[in-house]
Symmetry: C2
Subunit: 334 residues, 2 copies
């Protein structure tokens, strides 16, 4: 029996569950899936999946189902540790969490939004390949049931690690692409990770937070005038910041992104998170672009205010979740 690459997959939301499925679909890899809230259900029943790529009524249980990295370690060593969780570094370091499962030859795959997400991995795992996964899937997980409604297109590249040769990093990356790709989905080698990530931010740093702040979907946002009054201005700022960071994006991207959910009254992920009371990925989606703008002297008042508003909303969510406590008496200057 030929060797099957061994994958630890952390996070089983809509993206993570379909990534596990894709990796095992072609039978070329073994997946150990680390679950939290759905652990007991998936261990017993597997996921139920309705997929626009693979068909309806699919039942799927990853080869190994565990509820912690520690438990997952027993199935190692791993060729790949895939992080398909939200990236909220100000709350928890996912790199610290997965490190016990990372060995010398493990490549870490970050299927996560935003920019600057690789810094921690590169500094804490300086001799490992760090891959970037930019996912264009539309998929949700409600208690182990996956509704996969928008085709799975994953772009995978490597975050350049100066301690390793480019050839080696590309080889590892292409290996992951070939494991992930099958006859139903799309997975491509990403020549320019930075470009792909800035490109996606044209959507994610604009439509995503503004829909979250105003509690409307992208269709209503447009009908109420926000696409023209807010989104285009914010998108222009993203494009200007990207340019200051060495990435040229076409202004035509703005309309492409604005139209990308047609004809659906689509709720971007951050709005869904707000509605569920989940924490928001504000630092990697909004904070890092704003910090790059500041560093490079790019004027970005809209993104800055959007980011600062989201920080307040995040505080409200954290208080609601019991992650921070407000003094009984309002502190005032003495």
């Amino acid at each position: 029996m030929p060797y099957k690459p061994n994958v630890l997959l952390v996070g089983a939301g809509g993206v993570g569950a379909m990534a596990a499925f894709a990796l095992e679909y072609s039978g070329e890899s073994l997946v150990t899936s680390v679950l939290r809230s759905d652990y007991a259900h998936v261990l017993e029943n597997g996921f139920s999946i309705n997929s626009c790529d693979y068909g309806q009524g699919i039942s799927y249980r990853p080869t190994n189902v565990v509820n912690s990295i520690d438990a997952g370690k027993d199935y190692g060593p791993f060729d790949f540790v895939v992080l398909a969780t939200k990236c909220i570094p100000e709350v928890s370091s996912m790199i610290d969490i997965i490190r016990p499962a990372v060995s010398k030859d493990t490549a870490i795959v970050l299927i996560q939004n935003g920019i600057g997400i690789e810094d921690e991995a590169l500094s804490k795992c300086p001799n490992n390949v760090i891959l970037s996964g930019v996912s264009m899937i539309a998929s949700s997980n409600v208690k182990g049931h996956i509704e996969h409604s928008g085709r799975d297109l994953l772009s995978v590249g490597y975050f350049k690690n100066v301690n390793l040769s480019n050839e080696y990093q590309e080889k590892v990356c292409r290996r992951f692409v070939s494991m992930y790709k099958n006859d139903k989905n799309q997975c491509v080698f990403d020549e320019n990770v930075k470009f792909s990530r800035w490109r996606k931010l044209v959507y994610n740093a604009c439509l995503n937070p503004v829909c979250a702040i105003t509690s409307v979907d992208v269709g209503r946002l447009e009908l109420f005038g926000g696409t023209d009054s807010i989104i285009r201005k914010a998108m222009k700022e993203v494009i200007a910041i990207a340019k200051s960071d060495g990435i040229e994006l076409s202004e035509a991207l703005m309309d492409f992104m604005i139209r990308s959910n047609d004809p659906v009254y689509y709720k971007p992920s951050m709005l869904v998170d707000i509605e569920k009371g989940n924490l928001l990925e504000i630092e990697v989606i909004c904070g890092n672009p704003v910090r790059i703008a500041q560093k490079n002297g790019v004027n970005a008042p809209y993104l800055t205010l959007i980011y600062d508003l989201l920080k307040i909303v995040q505080g409200r969510i954290m208080e609601k979740k019991g992650m921070l406590t407000i003094p009984k008496e309002r502190p005032v200057p003495s």
Copy 2:
């Protein structure tokens, strides 16, 4: 019996109910109160009032209680028609609504927030005195029960009407002040209406909408960092726009306003409106300052974005209230 000035008072929220009470407290005027939702209750039982100025457990019924301007007209003619409603000109013209009760000698008193609120009254009632009431009261009405927790301080001046002499306008204004003022409350003649209104906007165009957008009170806003990251920048824009409009406000006002609710985790009115699903006064509080900024070439990105975000929120509220309907299919460019 000496003649008592006859007052039609439209709107009986926390502000309007206490205005009616103040006007009748000293026995110097007769109030006909126009109510909507609380009409039947107040007609039968009057208001129940707990007041920091007048005492607890007060029962008060205005001299006349009616449920429409038409019904109120029977008690006219009126020396004063007082508007103590929210000012949402994009939804309804309160001036058109009260006009049947306005006669040649009626003065119109606008106890309302924002700037530019007088334009419609001056153009539609060009021969009437139009007074400005800037209220600093904290008072709420829940189904006819008034909790009046912050002292009633009303500043009344006149919006200059070029068709009338200043002497006459001031005389009418001072008459209203003397009717309103009693030994429990404060009511002062406002020499500079424009100044008072811009001054109040330093609070109202900043803390009010930002708390509404982020759904936190002013205390949490400060604890989560928003006072420094957002409010001071927005307040500086208000001060700059006021300056372009001929009004000099001190920067020290910023801290005065920021500290004005100490030590309460206070919810500004717009946040309360959001929580109740009420429409927001966005045009007179946010829209008009932004338009003045545009006209005068003042850079005001924060106020502009705050205004544009509120317009989306207003759309959401209007849809929820059934005031606008969204197409079943999302319209997309053909």
